[in-house]
């Protein structure tokens, strides 16, 4: 009966893997035997696999990834540097929140990607234009999550620190920052998704290198297997980053597990 118990314990990953393998087999077999594939419009796993091996040993994929991640890291770092302090002040000072909240909420809720053509024309098709776009999209989750975290600081704890003669700095380091940390980690996960949108749109719109450009370029030249490789690589990176942050979230705030909305 050991086998059956094992199955019950791991039934989710087993079924998940089975369904992925099943889909790949079905896709391959259908296109090989039932409907002959028109390589201009569709492709099959074996061709994607070949393209994947070629790209893995080639140079272009790595160069594209390096270029995209450089723009991403610049924009993302800037949004951390700006977003977290701004959010902290907004959470701590009521009047600052009153002043900034309507403007920032309006900007957060609106599709700022619509500004992409202007930003690209203004800042150029290279690193700067993409980094600015990433910053513009990724900064808001940091602002609002940090602010929510600061506001969630327990007044009782604040009073305790004050009663024992703690200084303003102690307040920040011992109460506010630790309480805010889980919120910032959750914000980081949202910001990564938005930042990736920025990179992709920036590179679709006007670029001569980068992973987004590669995907679009392969699409324009009907090289579907190569295009799927780009999409798969990008998905793998996105899933890895998101799952990593989800794990980090569970580590810093186990009590919030399961209550969040993706």
């Amino acid at each position: 009966m050991g086998l059956k118990e094992k199955y019950h314990e791991y039934h989710r990953p087993i079924l998940g893997m089975a369904s992925v393998i099943g889909l790949i087999l079905l896709w391959e077999l259908t296109l090989t035997y039932l409907i002959p594939v028109d390589p201009f419009f569709f492709t099959k796993p074996s061709l994607i696999g070949t393209a994947f091996r070629e790209q893995l040993f080639g140079e272009r994929l790595w160069r594209d990834l390096a270029i995209s991640s450089r723009a991403f890291i610049w924009g993302f770092s800037l949004s951390v540097i700006v977003g977290i302090p701004l959010g902290a002040v907004m959470g701590w000072r009521r009047r600052v929140e009153y002043t900034l909240d309507p403007l920032l909420t309006a900007l957060y809720a609106s599709p700022l990607v619509a500004l992409a053509p202007l930003l690209i024309i203004f800042f150029g098709v290279g690193l700067l234009g993409k980094a600015v776009l990433v910053f513009l999209l990724a900064v808001f989750p940091f602002i609002f999550n940090t602010s929510a975290g600061v506001k969630s600081a327990d007044p009782l704890l604040i009073n305790v620190v004050r009663s024992f003669g703690g200084k303003e700095l102690d307040l920040y380091l011992k109460v506010i920052l630790p309480g805010t940390f889980p919120y910032i980690v959750a914000g980081t996960r949202l910001a990564i998704g938005r930042g990736l949108v920025g990179i992709i749109v920036g590179e679709f719109y006007a670029a001569s290198e980068g992973i987004g450009f590669a995907i679009q370029n392969y699409g324009d030249t009907y090289r579907l297997p190569d295009m799927f490789v780009g999409i798969i690589v990008l998905s793998a990176i996105a899933v890895a980053l998101t799952e990593l942050l989800r794990k980090a979230e569970l580590m810093v705030a186990p009590w919030r597990a399961g209550e969040e909305i993706r």
Binding site: Y98, Y183, I231, I261
Partner: protein
């Protein structure tokens, strides 16, 4: 004087918030008066009053309406399909553990990746026109709906389900009496997120796979350095998403008054 002070105290949040936006717009308007821009930058510069004038001109000429209808058609059909697909799938995934396990890898992978990467493929398959846009709106909007519906169904109180079952309810009645009412607040949250994603899809879809629509208007104006047309288009998208998201948010708050307010998340 005291009347004014108490008025200020009462409305401080609104006054400061709106005042700051007005202040920024006024500052923007005054930039050309305060400093002379170098010729290269003047090409990219515009003021709120010029944007408003352009907006009015485009409205009178009927250009905005023409693009607007195209965008709205793509938005509504994509969102409609997403609702029609996302809700049933979310419910089924929430009720059946096997189907949940089978589809989990795809949902996780597709949800983590910005769905815009599929745009070149959709353009290749469906050509430049409404269908590639509808598809990109659909794949953007379907996951928030599906995942939130799923979360709502999963979150149903087992005790309530058992009670209804004990009284002889079948699966459909369990659904109607317990599962759906419980999931509704989650579905509304999903709808709000889906609207944001759908608008994003319309904008980006029209940048690349279109010859009409507000996104196309923005992109083509930008490449002709008509900065005020770009801002007029951006303003329409901003207004649209604000109206839609805030009204769904209102609905959300009235449906789920007992839930604590979490961090904003669009």
């Amino acid at each position: 004087m005291t009347g004014l002070t108490s008025f200020y105290r009462e409305k401080e949040a609104y006054l400061l918030g709106i005042g700051f936006i007005v202040f920024l717009l006024a500052l923007w308007q005054c930039v050309p008066l305060l400093i002379t821009l170098p010729r290269g930058y003047a090409l990219f510069f515009t003021t709120p009053s010029r944007i408003a004038a352009t907006f009015y001109r485009l409205l009178v000429e009927g250009q905005i309406q023409e693009h607007f209808y195209v965008s709205v058609a793509a938005f509504l059909s994509g969102l409609g399909i997403a609702i029609a697909v996302g809700l049933p799938f979310g419910i089924v995934m929430g009720r059946s553990r096997t189907l949940d396990a089978l589809s989990d890898p795809y949902v996780t992978a597709l949800n983590a990746t910005p769905r815009l990467v599929w745009l070149p493929l959709f353009i290749l398959w469906f050509g430049i026109g409404i269908w590639s846009k509808v598809m990109i709106v659909f794949v953007g909007a379907v996951f928030p709906l599906l995942i939130n519906t799923y979360a709502g169904v999963k979150n149903v109180d087992r005790v309530l389900v058992n009670v209804v079952r004990s009284f002889g309810a079948n699966e459909w009645q369990v659904m109607k009496v317990v599962v759906l009412p419980n999931s509704l607040p989650y579905i509304i949250v999903g709808l709000r997120l889906a609207i944001g994603r759908a608008i994003l899809g319309v904008v980006v879809g029209e940048f690349f796979g279109s010859s009409k629509g507000l996104g196309f208007m923005i992109a083509s104006a930008a490449s002709n350095y008509k900065v005020d047309v770009v801002f007029a288009g951006v303003a329409i998208f901003m207004g649209l998403s604000l109206i839609l998201t805030l009204s769904v948010k209102k609905l959300e708050n009235s449906l789920a008054r007992w839930r604590p307010e979490a961090a904003k998340n669009f």
